[in-house]
């Protein structure tokens, strides 16, 4: 059963001398021997056995799953708060360096789901516009920054977090129709809010001097496309069977 070259020493010795003969290898003689399901065997191996497979033990010293995936809820909360109050300027630089994509993916999925709840199935467009726009914006900002290297993950992270005000507007769009003057004003306000916080982030990350409106203009266009999706897309037809 040795699929990988494990760096953990295999200190489990089978009782009989028939290692090479039996096809099942180490599991043959061990069913009764190891019903300890506490998880850690103490020598770096996974606990073998049927019950241990359904338990929650793992390799010793293994980090928790969320930490391994890089999802840090405290950071997500802090960054969300930073987007929601763009007028406060004391963003901890440590959280800026943690470029995670879990928050943005969550926000984009939430946006799509809220649009779905209001009848507009736009996942394809959100994905397409999002990817093309983010890649374009990333290269534009890479051109504009002189000393700082920025990579696509950080760019996407910032742009995704700043989508939050539009998510809030789409919450409204579930209950009322936004295709009226109030809707236009609210959406314009949300786009400006998104743009303000995103341009603030980018100016801080790229260390640009006095170039905030130049950075804000492309971001504004990007978020306006999303706002159009919220306001103007027609609802999908739903046919109800009269039985």
């Amino acid at each position: 059963m040795q699929f990988y070259q494990s760096n953990y020493a295999n200190s489990y010795q089978p009782q009989g001398g028939n290692i090479s003969g039996s096809g099942l290898g180490a599991m043959d003689n061990s069913f009764g021997a190891n019903i300890d399901v506490s998880g850690v065997m103490g020598n770096g191996e996974l606990t073998p056995g049927l019950l241990a497979a359904f338990g929650t033990g793992g390799y010793p010293g293994e980090p928790p799953l969320l930490e391994e995936l890089g999802i840090n809820f405290q950071h997500i909360k802090d960054k969300t708060r930073a987007v929601l109050n763009p007028l406060k300027h004391d963003i901890d630089p440590e959280i800026m360096n943690d470029s995670d994509l879990a928050g943005p993916i969550l926000f984009v999925l939430l946006f799509g789901t809220l649009l779905l709840l209001s009848g507009k199935v736009q996942f394809g467009y959100i994905y397409g516009v999002g990817v093309c726009g983010t890649v374009g914006l990333h290269y534009l900002f890479k051109f504009m920054s002189n000393d700082v290297q920025i990579d696509l993950v950080r760019s996407t992270s910032v742009i995704g977090y700043c989508l939050l005000p539009l998510v809030l507007i789409s919450v409204l769009g579930v209950v009322i129709s936004l295709d009226n003057m109030l809707g236009y004003l609210l959406s314009a306000f949300a786009v400006l809010w998104c743009t303000y916080s995103a341009s603030g982030f980018f100016v801080a990350v790229l260390k640009l001097h006095n170039a905030r409106p130049l950075v804000a203009y492309p971001l504004c266009m990007f978020y306006t496309v999303f706002a159009f999706m919220v306001i103007f897309v027609e609802k999908a037809d739903v046919k109800v069977q009269q039985s």
């Binding site: 290269y139 890479k142 051109f143 504009m144 920054s145 002189n146 001097h209 006095n210 130049l214 203009y217």
Partner: protein, 233 residues
């Protein structure tokens, strides 16, 4: 050419410089190369890219919007809804980006390799000039809406057409003047240097080049009028 860093120097600007360049471009009568040898002015392509892009979008919106307005306000049988033509957007992109890239390119290639100017016109600077002067096209996109609101195509077809031609021609003249006065100083100087003091042949060469630029710009203006400023309902 394919590294990012090659293009980084072309996007290096800040807000104040940008606004200042817009202001200088809006004045049709000054020259961009005056006293240029020791200015620290940045040559960048951000202005060309975004101003031309915005202009494309505004032209499309203006044409479509004024047609919709004309349809809504002035046509009596309400049975035919307006048909959007998004090819107009593609046409807009090709026309504006094409003109603003191809003409400076031809100018650069012609003067650098055919005529062998001693102080060559740098390509990015010419593209940048053409890009920034596009800002003078912006007002007529708004004026188009006003005209359509007040004048109906059915009743005053001739006057509407006439007005549209007038505004496009005025805008075209201003932008053309702006472009050419900015470039004329350098071209003239180069022609003089080439001709080694023979003023009349230098003038002839200079006039030929300027004439070609004027013709190109006139063709461009006519194309803009045909594509974007006709009311068809």
């Amino acid at each position: 050419m394919f590294q990012i860093n090659f293009y980084r120097s072309y996007f290096n600007l800040d807000t104040d410089t940008f606004l200042q360049k817009i202001q200088r471009a809006s004045n049709p009568l000054n020259s961009a190369f005056a006293g240029d040898e020791d200015t620290d002015e940045v040559t960048e392509l951000y202005g060309f890219f975004w101003i031309t892009g915005t202009l494309i979008f505004l032209m499309f919106v203006s044409a479509t919007g004024s047609n919709i307005l004309a349809n809504w306000l002035h046509s009596d049988p309400e049975n035919k809804p307006y048909e959007y033509s998004f090819e107009l957007l593609s046409k807009s992109i090709f026309l504006f980006y094409g003109y603003n890239l191809v003409v400076p390119l031809i100018l650069y290639l012609g003067t650098a390799f055919l005529l062998k100017f001693p102080n060559t016109l740098p390509l990015t600077k010419v593209i940048s000039i053409y890009g920034y002067t596009n800002i003078l096209w912006f007002p007529i996109t708004a004026i188009n809406f006003l005209i359509v609101v007040f004048i109906s195509n059915k009743k005053h077809h001739l006057m509407l057409n006439f007005l549209e031609w007038i505004i496009v021609l005025i805008s075209g003249t201003i932008t053309g003047l702006s472009n050419i006065t900015k470039l004329s100083g350098v071209i003239h100087k180069n022609c003089l240097l080439l001709a080694d003091g023979d003023a009349s042949s230098a003038n002839r060469q200079y006039m030929t080049i300027i004439g070609l630029l004027v013709i190109a710009h006139a063709l461009f203006t006519i194309l803009v009028k045909i594509s974007f400023f006709g009311i068809k309902v």
